[in-house]
């Protein structure tokens, strides 16, 4: 590791940041006013999130909906969040259910469903995750009545007939849409997840026999069990009076009967173990893609704010994180190096760093990433970093989640489905404000474990190995035992 990235230099640099901030804060304004942003006296935003209780509609059958007017355009957005995903039931069942949902209600051929969507100029998507499924229909308000009817009919009884699905998607989340595994980071992610979830419920893929079983009644039974009103939360927003939308929801869903909501399943934890392992996959491309990470356990609320602040400083997907600055701004190695905090709902998730670059940059990208992981575990962030992260999380990202009718109903629906209340979002700003630099370091030590990470590299492996050393970066095998895979899904 080069001394340039050593601790002393980092502390010195961070000290300078603070000093300059104070300097400019006190500078007099010139004709052209270049007062530092921290010295501008920018007022605090007056924004308060809307009252979720006023948006909530609860039907007698247990279905909950969040309804809000949104007059930005004459559109209506209907989204259903369902507490069922690929980790529930037998392998393949969610894939078949998602396929059925994409083909519309049982009462009409898939071609007619598609024609009706086309006539409405609708956007319709089905996304099946490990623990939840999301169905969205976006239409002009002039088609509101037909859209509610079609949406409810599909959700209540999707078209299992004529399913041509013969093989489960590589993962449920990736089943929709084509992914070019060799020209995007998706291949490296798949290789990473194939190791992370090996032997875990989240890593299951369906066999041909399981797909047959899912098509021949298994998926329909899964749908009957999990797609019940009490497992569904709707987000409804558009350019209609709220009362009208509530009436539409009631009319379309009130007659839906189903069993009790299945008991919440807590999925088994997963823990990667030392030593680190390296998974490589060959792709004859101009760049290599890198995923570095491990599991993320279910995060208790008391850790959430500090984890978000730590992640923001380290690498959360934005343009001024430590990973971004060190990899891109200062070294010109990559277009991006960011972290992805992806918690599960009632099971494990993952925490990964993702980057890519020309072959001669790949080994140094790995080295820089590990250096930054060590740094955030070992040292305290400075005052400026804390100020930036807290402002960005609360005045930026949090505010956007509730700024429009579409956004707020969506956020509240997810919160209700997962937590049954909105307490977590209510006090989120206060929790973020209370995070200290010590909390950030402690959280990094609790949730980041560089000694047992999986490193997934996909790209021109020989060129990566043969590239001359740029700084003091080691070869990939210095990070752990290398296992080469040719099909990331195997």
């Amino acid at each position: 590791m080069s001394a340039r990235r050593g601790l002393a230099r980092r502390v010195l640099r961070l000290t300078r940041v603070t000093a300059v901030g104070l300097l400019f804060a006190g500078a007099p304004a010139s004709a052209q006013d270049w007062t530092h942003p921290r010295g501008m006296g920018l007022p605090n935003p007056a924004f308060q999130r809307p009252d979720p209780d006023g948006m909530r509609l609860e039907l007698d059958n247990g279905l909950t909906a969040y309804v809000a007017e949104d007059w930005r355009a004459p559109l209506l957005t209907l989204t259903a969040f369902v507490a069922a995903g690929s980790a529930h039931g037998a392998p393949g069942e969610t894939d078949v259910v998602a396929d059925a949902l994409r083909r519309g209600p049982a009462s009409m051929p898939a071609s007619e469903f598609r024609s009706r969507l086309d006539a409405m100029a609708a956007v319709y998507t089905v996304t099946a995750g490990r623990e939840e499924t999301e169905v969205t229909l976006d239409v002009p308000v002039e088609d509101a009545a037909a859209a509610f009817e079609l949406f409810a009919a599909t959700l209540r009884g999707p078209r299992f007939e004529e399913s041509s699905l013969s093989r489960a998607g590589r993962t449920s989340q990736q089943a929709e849409g084509g992914i070019d595994w060799e020209t995007s980071i998706a291949g490296a992610i798949a290789a990473f997840e194939s190791r992370l979830y090996r032997g875990h419920t989240f890593g299951r893929t369906a066999s041909s026999a399981q797909m047959d079983a899912a098509r021949n009644g298994g998926a329909a039974a899964f749908h009957r069990r999990y797609f019940v009103p009490s497992s569904v939360v709707l987000a409804v927003a558009g350019a209609l009076d709220a009362a009208d939308m509530r009436a539409h929801v009631t009319g379309a869903f009130d007659g839906w009967r189903g069993g009790a909501r299945p008991a919440t399943v807590t999925f088994e934890p997963i823990e990667t173990t030392a030593p680190r392992q390296v998974v490589t996959a060959q792709a004859d491309k101009l760049q290599g893609w890198v995923i570095i990470g491990h599991e993320l356990p279910v995060v208790p609320r008391e850790d959430e704010a500090a984890l978000h602040v730590m992640d923001y400083i380290l690498g959360a997907y934005h343009l001024d994180s430590r990973l971004f600055r060190e990899s891109r701004e200062k070294r010109g190695l990559t277009n991006d190096n960011s972290s992805f905090l992806e918690p599960g709902v009632h099971g494990p998730g993952s925490y990964t760093m993702r980057t890519y670059g020309r072959p001669e940059a790949v080994r140094l990208l790995v080295d820089v990433t590990f250096h930054e992981l060590d740094a955030i575990r070992e040292t305290l962030p400075d005052e400026a970093e804390m100020f930036v992260a807290k402002g960005a999380l609360v005045d930026g990202l949090y505010a956007e989640r509730y700024a429009t009718g579409v956004a707020a109903t969506r956020s509240y629906a997810i919160e209700w489905l997962r937590e049954g209340d909105h307490l977590g979002s209510a006090d989120y700003p206060a929790r973020v404000a209370a995070v200290t630099a010590e909390d950030v370091r402690a959280t990094a030590q609790k949730y980041l474990h560089p000694d047992r990470m999986i490193i997934s590299v996909m790209g021109p492996l020989q060129k990566i190995a043969d590239a001359p050393m740029l700084e003091s970066e080691p070869h990939l095998d210095a990070w752990g035992r290398v296992e080469r895979v040719f099909d990331p899904h195997r």
Partner: protein, 512 residues
């Protein structure tokens, strides 16, 4: 009544929204032009807690010169590198180092020109270099590197981004296309002054820091494009479809990236990033009356500059059909027709949007009924953007799974385009219009996308064209489509692209 007309009438009856006279596009854009030429456009959404802010510069890739393609995009990257008041811990200490870099680079350019003038490019398909490194060039490059290292001691990377985000900025990005460059942010309405402070500074005081690092980022982005095997195919099609206009040029070749100098970039910066070549766009919870004095405070002191140069290139009228055979084993087989079309601002351009929607549907159906299948794309995209203020093309493309279907697909496409010269069914036109109208409403719902469209139309033509353009699409008739198809879809205006594998060629091509 014909079957088609009946279908259209029934369709209209089933869609009450369409029975209203004309859809109203709610675009209450308000304008103020300052004495120095700065244009301010505001679309007010009272009560919106946030505001989308965009700054557009009327400069893009069409202002580049061969050998320096991508320079406009590179300038966007450099303009994130800060100013004397943002991005440095001690400008007074950094400045003499930066000044010395300009001097060293000036000498380097002269030395390189001298070396280059001694030897011309002779190779075409090899890597024969047309410039050699002299010992003096090596010395100067070494000194530049050393100066950059010295300057780095004062560097605060990412400052312009950091302070936006610290104060609630989201959607931070920038884009450079053929006709514009823009910087984007969404802020709490109370903090809109931050945008004015940072962008005024960026426009007048950019320091060209981390120059070599950012040069490599362009290489990385180019590699990212080239990882997609279809990129070279599309670039070849662009090169064939247009003869001289830079709108058809690619984003830069790797040889271009190494030609950028601080001096050449400064020329772009000084000429185009001037107040009278700039448009500010705000969409959200601010008012024009509120914004005028704020903008005046940060931009009012700037003086009007000489009018920037526009590209003098005029695409000559096409005079012959062209055909590209692209042999590659990495991309799916495909066939494509391109025709040059007029720019935004021309009355035929909105009709072409409707025609595109109609054609995509007809082509998909016809290919399906013929048992050919394939993925149909009908678009007006060149590189990334779909609309231009300069002539571009409409592209009809079918991507096939079976190479043996190329000839059949081409025949179907030719017939479909020929059929467009007769008025299509009104119901089909009405559906296309509804699709376009709904897509626009999705744009308008997104304040960022709406602000982009307002600024984009201003740089392409004028912002007032936008509502006229949307209305004109809704007024388009089947006869309009037939007229436009007959006018533009003629053989001499056609470029045909065929992509097929190297390993499976028809007999007629095997000896070529």
């Amino acid at each position: 009544m014909t079957v088609g007309a009946l279908a259209a009438a029934l369709y209209l009856l089933s869609s009450p929204g369409l029975l209203q006279s004309q859809p109203a596009y709610d675009l209450p854009i308000r304008e103020h032009v300052f004495d120095n030429g700065l244009r301010l456009l505001v679309l007010e959404r009272p009560g919106d807690p946030r505001v989308v802010a965009r700054i557009f510069t009327d400069m893009g890739a069409i202002h580049e010169v061969p050998g320096l393609l991508g320079a406009a995009h590179f300038q966007e990257h450099i303009m994130f590198k800060g100013t004397p008041s943002l991005g440095t811990s001690d400008w007074e200490a950094e400045r003499p180092i930066r000044d010395r870099m300009w001097e060293v680079e000036e000498e380097l350019i002269e030395e390189r020109n001298r070396a280059r003038n001694e030897i011309r490019q002779r190779g075409v398909m090899d890597d024969y270099r047309h410039v050699k490194a002299t010992p003096r060039m090596v010395e100067l490059l070494t000194e530049l590197e050393d100066l950059e290292r010295q300057a780095a001691a004062y560097r605060e990377s990412g400052a312009m981004k950091r302070w936006y985000q610290a104060f609630g900025g989201t959607g931070l990005s920038a884009t450079t296309e053929q006709e514009y460059m823009k910087f984007d942010i969404t802020l709490p309405v109370e903090r809109v002054d931050l945008f004015l402070r940072i962008e005024a500074d960026r426009m007048t005081n950019t320091v060209f820091r981390e120059f070599e690092q950012e040069r490599m980022i362009l290489v990385e982005q180019r590699f990212g494009d080239l990882n997609n095997a279809s990129t070279p195919y599309y670039e070849q099609m662009n090169a064939m479809a247009g003869v001289v206009h830079p709108v058809f040029w690619p984003e830069g070749y790797s040889t271009d990236f190494y030609e950028y100098t601080r001096t050449s970039q400064r020329a772009l910066y000084k000429e185009y990033f001037v107040v009278n070549n700039t448009t500010l766009v705000f969409v959200g919870g601010v008012s024009l009356e509120d914004m005028i004095p704020r903008v005046e405070q940060y931009f009012g002191w700037m003086e009007r500059a000489p009018e920037p140069t526009r590209t003098p290139a005029v695409e000559p009228p096409p005079a012959a059909e062209r055909r590209l055979i692209y042999r590659n084993d990495q991309i799916e087989p495909r066939v494509e027709f391109r025709y040059q079309i007029p720019a935004v601002g021309h009355p035929d351009r909105p009709v072409i949007d409707v025609l595109s929607e109609v054609a995509a549907g007809v082509l998909s159906e016809r290919l399906g009924s013929e048992g050919i299948g394939g993925i149909v794309n009908v678009n007006t995209r060149v590189v990334h953007t779909s609309r231009f203020g300069v002539p571009a093309t409409i592209n009809f493309e079918v991507v096939l799974s079976d190479e043996g279907q190329i000839n059949a697909a081409e025949a179907v496409m030719e017939q479909v385009i020929l059929d467009l010269k007769s008025p299509p069914e009104p119901g089909r036109v009405a559906r296309a219009q509804k699709t376009l109208r709904t897509a626009w409403h999705r744009t308008a719902r997104n304040a960022g996308a709406l602000a982009f469209e307002i600024g984009h139309f201003q740089t392409m033509d004028r912002w007032q064209t936008l509502p006229e353009f949307l209305d004109a699409r809704d007024r388009t008739t089947p006869d309009d489509i037939a007229r436009v198809a007959a006018l533009y879809f003629v053989p001499d205006n056609r470029s045909v692209g065929v992509a097929r594998s190297r390993t499976s060629r028809p007999v007629s091509e095997q000896d070529r």
